[in-house]
Symmetry: C2
Subunit: 354 residues, 2 copies
Amino acid sequence: MIYEDYKIFTPGPVKMSKEILEIGSKQTPYFRNDKFSNVVLNCEKMLLEMVNAPKDSRVIFLTASGTAGLESVVMNLLNKNDRAMVVNGGGFGQRFVDICKSYEINHLDYKVENTNLSDINDKDISDDYNTFIVNAHETSEGHLYDLEAIGEFCKKNNLLNIVDAISMFVTDELDMQKHNIDTVILSSQKGLALPPGLTMVVLNKQALNRINDIQSHYFNFKNYLKDGKRGQTPYTPCVSIILQLEARLEQIQKDGGISSTIKKAKEIALYFREQIKDLPFEEFTPFMPNAMTTLSPTNGKGATAIVRELEEDEHIVVCPNGGELKEKIFRVSHMGDISLEYIDILIKALKKYK
Amino acid sequence: MIYEDYKIFTPGPVKMSKEILEIGSKQTPYFRNDKFSNVVLNCEKMLLEMVNAPKDSRVIFLTASGTAGLESVVMNLLNKNDRAMVVNGGGFGQRFVDICKSYEINHLDYKVENTNLSDINDKDISDDYNTFIVNAHETSEGHLYDLEAIGEFCKKNNLLNIVDAISMFVTDELDMQKHNIDTVILSSQKGLALPPGLTMVVLNKQALNRINDIQSHYFNFKNYLKDGKRGQTPYTPCVSIILQLEARLEQIQKDGGISSTIKKAKEIALYFREQIKDLPFEEFTPFMPNAMTTLSPTNGKGATAIVRELEEDEHIVVCPNGGELKEKIFRVSHMGDISLEYIDILIKALKKYK
């Protein structure tokens, strides 16, 4: 298989644990029965606890990747009477903007740079918006927004707060009640450290009340909510990944819950940043999540050359960028089943650039 | 894990081979690179060969389950100027009808019963249709339509022929050129015997020319075709399943190609039907595929009781039905990594009903 025995530091897919991989090696069971329903209901219960969802919140399980989460939320929760502020600080913010455009949703393309929005409450945003949309961790650059300030802003201005938490859940703090979040989008292949293919949408009561009747079958939240009551989905789900999800969530619970996974990710991120501080790499943003470190080479070397050398010479995969930032940055994920010993391998490899 | 060590005879998920399961136990690699592009391009090439697609055909890889294939084809290939004949012989035919309704596509809800449409060329269908839609194997009942007659009909009437082959590809004959098929929909968890989560759409030149500009991002065929040229997808694909797909298609090639897998499935289906012919079960339709046998109990026992007893007493999973047919039929899949020895276990269990 390609890239067997490579060390992986990409922000999705990420390194999975042995236990999860073992489930991947088992026959996919039939799923239209109570046993599988109980798995789904158990996943829903654990997820709701881990995002600290308020009472009566629900989870939708989509067999699809993260963009389907972004798009389906816009399709289901927004219509032409709504007005959304969309934070656009990179590729994924732009994706939300593009989706709003396609569905003709009134929106503000809220371009931000060099800020984590901790000062958003000082801004005078006079327009009459009713929805706020943000990628909590703008993964294209490794930039984490201040969910507490955003939550306060949304509460004050009575905005439905939609948070794409795909690449920060599990590694960085996310609390629907503390942060006044109404909708959370999650995906399997980031901090949850499962194979790609499963996307989840958590909706609180306010978000549930916003669901429209829509044309789409595959992304029709009303049908998912109806079947979800008994732990089923309208269409064949990615059964194997859901079984892996249950095992992963149980593992997180056993290991001390989300606060422990955040602590562990933070420890790894800080350790990595400390160990490489004398190397010719600069942190690209002061607002990095625990999930990832984004580095700019300062020795005149292009980022893609470094990515290529790590892959070819060291069998280490870090993440390149496209577009304007192609030669300026590369990204190192701290998500998944990563130990200090594992990241030491990357640190050692980076030291050759000293 | 639920249902470990159960024998599985459901029409998706189906029994997977050891080789495929082993890939499921490996780390998902990073995919935005040439190595993974080559995997995707190799899958496309092999799939096109196996459905005998004409020159310049293409494959779209969707991270989603089968219904997304049905819906995305309607969204991308049909618009309000088209008129579609939709074969409706059961639950999946009805799904196509419902999708056409949602997207306001002019369509004939072509209800059929007790026919495999081998006589469709005798029918006087005077309306000016331009598209034909059929689930080659109506899996809800185990009914196979005559693709040869349908192909002739479509050619004669100049209809774009859209075939959902999800639960007959690999086990029953499907040949885009011989059967005049323009679009084929495939999914991972049926005859391909992979985990659920991957759906593929094969488009020939005529179908490619019908692609509309649509609102959807996640199902936008134009974007998939553009990125697909270099073996990539617009959004994170289900990398692990695609790696398993490559291994599976290579295995099929090595074992003598699709004609061999069809022969093997036919052998198993005929063996099963022969072995149970003295038992109190009646074949539900005379037009059964190799993929599956649908049985009606003739001893007065309800179908769900049999399904339950097999599961509880014998640890064998066959497939129940819902709706009107709930007590009338149950289904036995012959898809996947099934040997005569494996199906003997089910035959032995059914003999207790003699």
